[in-house]
């Protein structure tokens, strides 16, 4: 089992510097792959539509996920509700490459997350701060992403979450060793995880940014703030020219530090997704599952 967890963390390492795109059909998956996605997230409705239509959002139909698996050669991820280990068992049975235990779907358990150590396939989980990230890792997550606020096209929450996680990492790094015990108590995680961050100055797993990415500049901003890669949900297939925008975001993630390349790829992308401002949101998905 320990070896399996290592292999799963290793897969996340291979995704670094890449863009993981939400797709809701095999056609969209092929567009994403051709545009340079390093993985796709298969789901029936993208977050913006989940937000618009309301109701209970659940794991997608396994048949759709299998069709998407057949359509592309890159890794395929899919979402389960927070705490819904039966949905996760189903995704493992169809050999999904990565499970996202996601606040985008309606939570199935308001207290417990999935015991991810019981699974052979890797999990990615969302986090708003370092404590959440380490709690998810303690439960067996092989990859972390910021929660951001999915389906809004507004980057402010992802920036807030990423900045906070990076700041808390720097704070842990600068602590005296005898202060780490109290830090572990405050974060509600084992001392070993806190000690790892103190020594290494980073999470023990790969950390992506997610939630509200709509432009190449958004992606570059998050990369410069320390993200190791980016998830793009509604931002691509809710825009005027998905293929072109997807390609541009991929290039922006690779050359996030070169403003002249960013300028070039940002040109003439057509309409971005409309988006919702923070103050206008009725449902804060990032508050689900802490």
């Amino acid at each position: 089992m320990e070896n399996r967890y290592e292999l799963n963390k290793n897969l996340a390492q291979m995704l670094k510097g890449g863009v993981i795109m939400d797709v809701s059909s095999p056609e969209q998956a092929r567009v994403a792959e051709a545009a340079g996605a390093c993985a796709v997230m298969a789901l029936e409705r993208i977050p913006a539509d989940i937000r618009a239509s309301g109701g209970v959002a659940r794991m997608s139909d396994p048949r759709l996920i299998k069709e998407i698996q057949r359509a592309v050669s890159i890794p395929v991820m899919a979402k389960v509700r927070i705490g819904h280990f039966a949905e996760a068992q189903i995704l493992q049975a169809i050999e999904i490459d990565f499970i996202d235990e996601s606040e985008v779907l309606s939570p199935a358990d308001d207290l417990h997350h999935i015991d991810k150590r019981k699974f052979k396939v890797p999990f990615v989980c969302g986090a708003k701060d370092l404590g959440e990230a380490l709690r998810r890792i303690n439960e067996g997550a092989a990859m972390i992403r910021t929660k951001g606020e999915p389906g809004t096209g507004d980057i402010v929450q992802a920036v807030r979450h990423l900045r906070l996680i990076m700041k808390q990492i720097r704070q842990l790094q600068s602590m005296r060793e005898d202060e780490l015990y109290n830090a572990a108590k405050e974060f509600q995680v084992p001392y070993e995880l806190v000690s790892y961050v103190h020594k290494n100055g980073k999470l023990p797993v790969v950390n992506f940014a997610a939630g509200g990415v709509a432009t190449p500049a958004d992606a570059a901003l998050l990369m410069q703030l320390g993200a190791e890669g980016v998830f793009v949900g509604s931002g691509i297939f809710k825009s005027g020219n998905p293929f072109k925008r997807a390609q541009a975001i991929v290039k922006a993630v690779t050359n996030f530090n070169d403003p002249s390349i960013l300028a070039e790829v940002s040109e003439d992308l057509g309409e971005a997704m409309v988006g919702i401002n923070e103050q206008e949101i009725e449902l804060l998905m990032s508050m689900r599952g802490v």
Binding site: L7, N8, M14, K16, G36, V121, I261
Partner: protein, 187 residues
């Protein structure tokens, strides 16, 4: 001290940089065409998604020049996706990238993530090392007449090979071993 360029378009390039530096050499990230103008003693093409790295190589106008300097003898090591990019033939796939090594590779040859594994096995010239395969390819065929030497096999599948200045592994030495990089730095 050697200066090694590590292709940093996507994937596990940071891990390679760490190993190169740990062995006392200098590593340079290669993210765009002008980065290839640096004086380099070798190039590493990391693991990641070959479709992504291959596409970016083309679009960032790096592919032809990279092929040219490798053909001229610059040592190169390709791991996993890097091996796919070096291969002349890719089974069940019409894509071709650098197309320099006389090997036929098969992508995702062990299936999805559940098929990923780690094993201790012999690497010719090094001995027993840990080999980690992540949604890995393997080599279905090498052209020994063209000077391709098989360096490692696992369960009868070829997982490492060398052709003159080019070294390819299906597994990821950058994750848990220094020896393959040492071998490469001596090419």
């Amino acid at each position: 001290m050697k200066q090694i360029g590590v292709l940093a378009l996507q994937g596990a390039f940071a891990e390679h940089i760490q190993v190169v530096e740990q062995l006392g050499h200098r590593a340079l990230e290669l993210r765009q065409r002008r980065d290839l103008n640096n004086s380099l003693d070798g190039i590493i093409i990391p693991g990641g998604e070959s479709t992504v790295i291959g596409k970016l190589l083309k679009e960032l106008d790096m592919l032809d020049y990279l092929r040219h300097i490798i053909r001229d003898g610059l040592p190169v090591m390709g791991t996993c996706a890097g091996m796919i990019l070096l291969a002349k033939e890719i089974s069940y796939d019409s894509s071709r990238y650098l197309s320099l090594m006389d090997i036929r590779v098969r992508r995702n040859a062990y299936g999805r993530q559940l098929g990923s594994f780690s094993v201790d096995s012999i690497f010719r010239g090094i001995g027993k090392i840990t080999m980690t395969f992540i949604r890995a390819p393997y080599i279905e065929e090498v052209n020994e007449g063209a000077g391709v030497e098989i360096l490692a096999t696992v369960n009868d599948k070829i997982v490492a090979a060398r052709q003159k200045n080019m070294l390819a592994t299906a597994f990821h030495p950058e994750l848990n071993c220094l020896d393959v990089h040492k071998y490469f730095l001596n090419i």
